[in-house]
């Protein structure tokens, strides 16, 4: 039988705050010793009280706005109880009853739309590493701020599941609320999959695959679940409502916990944290700090940058901001930090037309560098200045730089040692500026034409042998030490050899 899959996704996003959700210790535990980013509050000493990090609330507002969500004027924290060594307090502080982020939606690049049910703030758990006879506990990650984004069951294919997750990731990194480093678990996905007979208006029983940490594994897990559940249904059996784990190695999901074994979390309002009451003014002020989102870039540059190139570039917010800067659509430059400098505003899109050639050139260059060089992260952390790029585009447009020379100079712009130089000096140093002065070029052409070794070629050309023009251009280029603009040279030659 044919089945129609229905998929809902829960996504945990770690927020890029400086400190933890409820304490003042460093929130960035990458490259740090286990248990070195832990305060008495995170460690749950007796008598310790949580202190809500206002920055996490602000980032949650931005994340919510990035997903077109309502921000709730009043939200509250609750305690979710369970015993496990990754949870020092014996409960997780989350928002079960009154989340901060309300309904919204995410537009998929393919044109689909996934509604957001809600999203809430909560603290992350610690990390356990298991060995044969013991386990080690690392509490560095305890109470790293998370938002959990809960989608409506609006997804119906593995590919859309993949695209939704990827678009969410883009929204989060463009909004600057998360580092979005999937390898380090900055975003994790739980995928609910159910199948119903095609045409049925009832949903089937769902299985939840937990803790997926890449778009690819989301796609594969959904594909696997669709196959697995189809087989069960085809055999006339029933799908069990359960939690399943995913193995990237085997490409399979395996059952972990059925509904009957589900824990009772005994939710209770968190008495140590007063409700978050946000004024409309505060929400509006914070929402206004939302930077340009992928959809803004698509509408700005969709007709200038080829679709495939743009979609590649849209994985890199820094890059898009740079293009926007070159295009002159940002009123001020962004800081590189995750939590500052989000005050960019769109100016008049019509300005873009004058910058179109520059945008085309730079998007081409960036895309080719990114695709070819496997160095994207490095490159992108330290992009050339907007002026350097503008100058490069201008020199290219004036034909002062050949396309080869343009790329060469472009790559040199990434060299930190070149950072303080202007593009022209760099091009000069490299000796790649083309000679466009027609008077000077004519003199060089005359010199070449006077040389005995070119006489036969001149005669052949006049006799209609077109292809020898290449030889003559080459001679002129040689004479000019490669700086002559070849098309200008050819033009002069043709005129003189008439």
């Amino acid at each position: 039988m044919k089945y129609y899959p229905t998929i809902g996704i829960e996504c945990h996003v770690q927020l890029a705050t400086k400190t933890k959700l409820f304490s003042e210790v460093d929130n960035d535990a990458r490259h740090k010793e286990p248990n070195s980013c832990v305060s008495p509050v995170d460690y749950a000493l007796p008598g310790m009280l949580p202190r809500l990090n206002g920055e996490a609330v602000r980032l949650a507002i931005l994340a919510g706005r990035a997903m077109n969500c309502e921000i709730n004027a009043s939200s509250r924290f609750d305690r979710k109880h369970y015993f496990y060594p990754d949870s020092p307090k014996g409960y997780q502080i989350t928002q079960f009853y009154h989340p901060i982020i309300g309904e919204g939606h995410v537009d998929l690049p393919s044109g689909g739309k996934v509604r957001i049910e809600h999203a809430h703030l909560e603290g992350d758990a610690g990390k356990l590493t298991h060995f044969d006879s013991y386990s080690l506990v690392d509490l560095n990650r305890v109470d790293t701020p998370l938002i959990e984004i809960v989608s409506m069951p609006d997804i119906h294919s593995a590919k859309d599941a993949h695209d939704y997750c990827k678009e969410l990731w883009r929204l989060m990194i463009f909004a600057g609320v998360s580092y979005g480093d999937l390898y380090n678990g900055n975003m994790r996905f739980d995928v609910n999959v159910s199948l119903a007979p095609e045409g049925s208006d009832k949903l089937g029983t769902r299985a939840e695959v937990k803790n997926l940490n890449s778009f690819r594994s989301v796609e594969r897990a959904v594909e696997y679940e669709i196959k697995r559940q189809s087989k069960i249904l085809d055999a006339g059996d029933k799908v069990i409502q359960e939690t399943r784990g995913w193995s990237d190695a085997t490409g399979e999901t395996t059952g972990q916990r059925s509904k009957e074994e589900a824990k009772d979390y005994r939710y209770m309002p968190e008495p140590d944290i007063p409700p978050i009451n946000l004024s409309k003014e505060f929400i509006d002020t914070e929402s206004a700090k939302l930077p340009l989102m992928p959809k803004d870039y698509r509408s700005l540059f969709g007709e200038i940058i080829p679709h495939d190139t743009l979609e590649i570039m849209l994985d890199y917010p820094q890059l898009m901001r740079k293009i926007a800067e070159v295009a002159g659509v940002l009123s001020e430059e962004f800081d590189s930090g995750h939590t500052q400098g989000r005050s960019a505003k769109l100016t008049v899109p019509s300005q873009i037309s004058s910058a179109t050639p520059a945008i085309k050139l730079l998007s081409n260059l960036f895309a080719s560098v990114l695709l070819a060089e496997e160095k994207s992260a490095e490159y992108l952390n330290d992009l050339p200045a907007g002026k350097q790029l503008n100058d490069l585009a201008e020199m290219n447009a004036k034909k002062e730089l050949s396309s080869t020379a343009t790329k060469e100079v472009f790559l040199h712009l990434f060299d930190p040692q070149m950072r303080n130089k202007d593009t022209r000096s760099i091009a000069k140093e490299l000796g790649v500026i083309q000679e466009n002065d027609l008077g000077a070029l004519e003199k060089i052409v005359d010199t070449v034409l006077a040389k005995p070794e070119t006489q036969k070629a001149q005669e052949d050309f006049r006799n209609g042998e077109e292809k020898v023009i290449g030889f003559l251009v080459g001679q002129v280029m040689k004479e000019s030490h490669g700086k002559a603009n070849p098309s200008s040279v050819q033009e002069i030659l043709r005129k003189k050899l008439k």
Binding site: P46, L49, R79, H81, E270, P271, P274, P275, N277
Partner: protein, 491 residues
Amino acid sequence: MKTANKTVTATRLVKDALEKAKHFADYNIFTFLNEEGALKKAAEIDEKIARGEKVGRLAGVPYALKDNFLSPEGDTTASAHILEGCASPVTATTVEKLEAEGAIMIGRANLDAFAHGSSTENSYFGPTLNSHDKTRVAGGSSGGSAVAVALDIVEFATGTDTGGSIRQPASFNGVYGFKPTYGTISRYGVVAMASSLDCIGFFTKTPEDMDLLMSITAGQDPKDMTTLPDYYNENFNGDNDTTEDAACPSGTLRAAQAKSSRPVEHIASSAASPIYKIGIIKDFDNDVVDVSIRNALKEKCELLKSKGYEIVELEMPTLKYALAAYYIIQPAEVASNLSRYDGVRYGFRSENSTDLDGLYENTRSEGFMAENKRRIMIGNFVLSSGFYDAYFLKAAKARTLIINEYNKAFEKCDFILTPVSPNPAFKLGEKVNDPVAMYLEDLMSVSLNLAGVPGLAIPAGETAEGLPIGLQLVGPRRSDKKLIEFSKELI
């Protein structure tokens, strides 16, 4: 408060206190005596005095610290086996404030483990004995603190009051015991019992001392989001909504405060000798209450009348639900707050386990007292899926009604005078095996915690057997200073 000076040194005061503490060792008041630390601090203060330097308002004053306040001096055990041997790297905000004024902790005072109890019999270190009759209980949970002050070992002691744990032992031992408005004093560094009810307060021998301690310790603490701005010393710029929010974890208190038609200003701005109206709750004048306590209340009413104050009778029918609501909300928060004691990171860990579940089960079974376990079970039951609405949510609604009832009452009067507990100090062991009888001891004290209003236990004579009687003076939220001031009229 007797502070140190050139003739009576801090060292003298501390030595005297330590000697008395040892003299009364059989009362089992202290879980730890801070001899070395206290004498060292006393010497430092004496040096300061000798050099003519400025010393604090509590210079050299010895005090007892209820053993659920964190400080690096001595282990913070909360009189619980599961926390035995736990030295704290953290100092409670209240301890910091007291010591900044020169107060010297001479010992940690015994309590019911995790402050669960009304007699200090639930202490892992054994019960503290009543200051007036060694065959009777000290009251609880702050039994050690109350007896330390009553026996004049120290000038004052700290306490915590979740449902009466300061006021009841104060009344059992004939001293002043104050539970302030919720959020007045920071809870940071105090072992939590039930977070939305817990209040930090003190035991003293006079209202003046109480006022001094309050003025030192009240105020907003960035480490405790539920603290109020320092209204006690009127030391804050405006009182904006944000700070008001911070005071009210459930939101209901805030709503109640906003609705209250008789704000503190009414009292504060009254004439120099205001003619207060004092409310008496009719329902509390019945056979459940010991006759000597009822008589003491009548005497005090006559005294007030003779001074020109008006006595008004109040009907507060909702208060009869206070105890039931309290014994749902409180165990729920207790169960939650005790979850962290799992033997994984600190404290007692059972050695009899082979796997993780066993570690939890054995550690908590062996580490908690029976009363702790009773509350954990009740708390988890009322929070469990399917029962939350019927129990916890219902109790939370009852709590809102009780808040409203107090607001209405304070439209008719300025303060309310009631017994603290139905009976004077009972015999050791008398109620140990009857938890409900023990819970009934809290009948008149718990509604204040549910409503977040302040209450001061006041000594009000003795029974025929010579047992202290206590009354409590209750005021609207943030009336704490006026309330302590007014209590002098009852002497």
